[in-house]
C-alpha cells in the first residue's frame, strides 16, 4: 500500500504528539517564573507564545497532577474573598532539578535537529 500523504488530521496529530512530549518542560518552566493556578498557566502559555503554543484544560490538568505526584510541584488550596477554592502550584527543589535536566535535554535535541535539517544534499 502506498504511503498516504499526511492530511489535516494527521498533521494535527503530529503537532499534538510534539506538544505532549514537551508539556512537562513547558509547565515546569512557566512555574519557575512563579506560583500560579491552572487557568493562569493555560492563559500564560497562550500569551507568552502569541498563541502558537496552546493547550486545553483537559491536556494540562493531568500533567499538573503527574508533576504533583512526582513531587516536582507543591500545591496549596486557597479560597479567594469571593469565589471558588483555587489550587496553586509551585516548583519544588526536585522540580527545579527536573526543569534543568529537561531543558538541557531539549536544547541538545533541538540543536541536533536543526543541524541535521540544515544539511544540504551532496552534489555528485
Amino acid at each position: 500500500m502506498a504511503a498516504r500523504p499526511a492530511d489535516g488530521d494527521d498533521r494535527r496529530g503530529i503537532e499534538r504528539e510534539l506538544k505532549r512530549g514537551s508539556l512537562e518542560l513547558i509547565v515546569l518552566h512557566l512555574l519557575s517564573l512563579g506560583e500560579a493556578y491552572g487557568y493562569e498557566i493555560v492563559t500564560a502559555l497562550t500569551e507568552r507564545t502569541n498563541g502558537s503554543l496552546e493547550v486545553t484544560d483537559g491536556t494540562l490538568y493531568p500533567v499538573l497532577y503527574r508533576l504533583e505526584r512526582a513531587g516536582f510541584v507543591a500545591v496549596r488550596w486557597e479560597t479567594p474573598q469571593r469565589g471558588v477554592p483555587r489550587k496553586y502550584y509551585r516548583l519544588t527543589k526536585p522540580g527545579q532539578a527536573e526543569l534543568a535536566q529537561l531543558t538541557r535535554e531539549w536544547n541538545t535535541f533541538a540543536s541536533a535537529m536543526s543541524s541535521l535539517l540544515r544539511q544540504q544534499p551532496e552534489r555528485t
Partner: protein, 198 residues
C-alpha cells in the same frame, strides 16, 4: 443534575473506587470549571476545554504507576480468601449437619461453594479488590488503571467455572506483568494498592 456535575461523575466513574483519589479529582475539576465560569466562559465551553471524560480520566490515571503484584502476594491473597470462605461456611454447614438430613448438607455445601466462587467476581467489580487482596495491598484494574467493568470481572473468573484455574494460574509465573491467561484475555491486571507505591 447539571451538565458539569454529570461530566465530573463520568470522569470519576472511570477511576478506581478509592475515595481519596475520586474526591481529589472531583474537587480539582469543580475548581477548574468554576474558574472558567468566572472568566466568562459558559459551562459548555468549560467542558469542551476538558474534552472527553473517559480520555481525561485515563490521562489522570496515567500519572499513577501500575506495579504488578508478585506471584507470592497474590497466592497469599488467594489463600486468605479461601480461609475466609471456610470461616464463614464451616459453622453454617455444621449447624445444618446437626439439625437436618445428609441431603441438605450436600445442598448447602453446593450453594456455599457457588457463593464462594461468585465472591471474587462481585467484590472485584464493586470494590476493585477482595478481602484477601486488600489485606495484601492489592487491587484489580484495567490496563489503563481504570476500574474494571462487570464483563471483565466475569472473564477474570471464568477459569474457576471452567475448572482450568490451575493451568491459568501457571501463566502468572511466566508472563511479564504476572498475569493469568484470563487476565490477559480480559485486559485486566492485579497491581499494588496506591498507598503501597514506593
Amino acid at each position: 443534575m447539571s451538565a458539569d456535575y454529570e461530566y465530573i461523575e463520568r470522569v470519576i466513574d472511570q477511576l478506581p473506587r478509592e475515595a481519596t483519589l475520586r474526591a481529589q479529582v472531583a474537587m480539582e475539576l469543580r475548581s477548574h470549571i468554576a474558574e472558567r465560569l468566572e472568566h466568562g466562559n459558559s459551562v459548555e465551553e468549560a467542558l469542551q476545554q476538558l474534552g472527553d471524560p473517559v480520555v481525561l480520566a485515563e490521562s489522570y490515571l496515567a500519572a499513577i504507576p501500575l506495579i504488578p503484584a508478585s506471584f507470592g502476594r497474590r497466592a497469599v491473597a488467594r489463600i486468605l480468601d479461601a480461609l475466609g470462605v471456610v470461616a464463614v461456611c464451616a459453622p453454617i454447614v455444621w449447624l445444618i449437619a446437626i439439625k437436618t438430613e445428609f441431603f441438605f448438607v450436600i445442598l448447602t455445601i453446593g450453594v456455599l461453594l457457588s457463593a464462594a466462587a461468585l465472591y471474587p467476581l462481585l467484590a472485584e467489580y464493586f470494590f476493585g479488590t477482595t478481602i484477601g487482596k486488600r489485606a495484601m495491598g492489592l487491587r484489580v484494574v484495567r490496563e489503563s488503571g481504570a476500574r474494571i467493568t462487570f464483563g471483565q470481572s466475569v472473564v477474570r473468573q471464568l477459569p474457576v467455572f471452567l475448572e482450568v484455574f490451575w493451568i491459568d494460574v501457571l501463566f502468572a509465573l511466566f508472563t511479564e506483568k504476572h498475569q493469568r491467561a484470563f487476565e490477559i484475555l480480559s485486559k485486566t491486571r492485579v497491581v499494588t494498592a496506591m498507598e503501597n507505591e514506593s
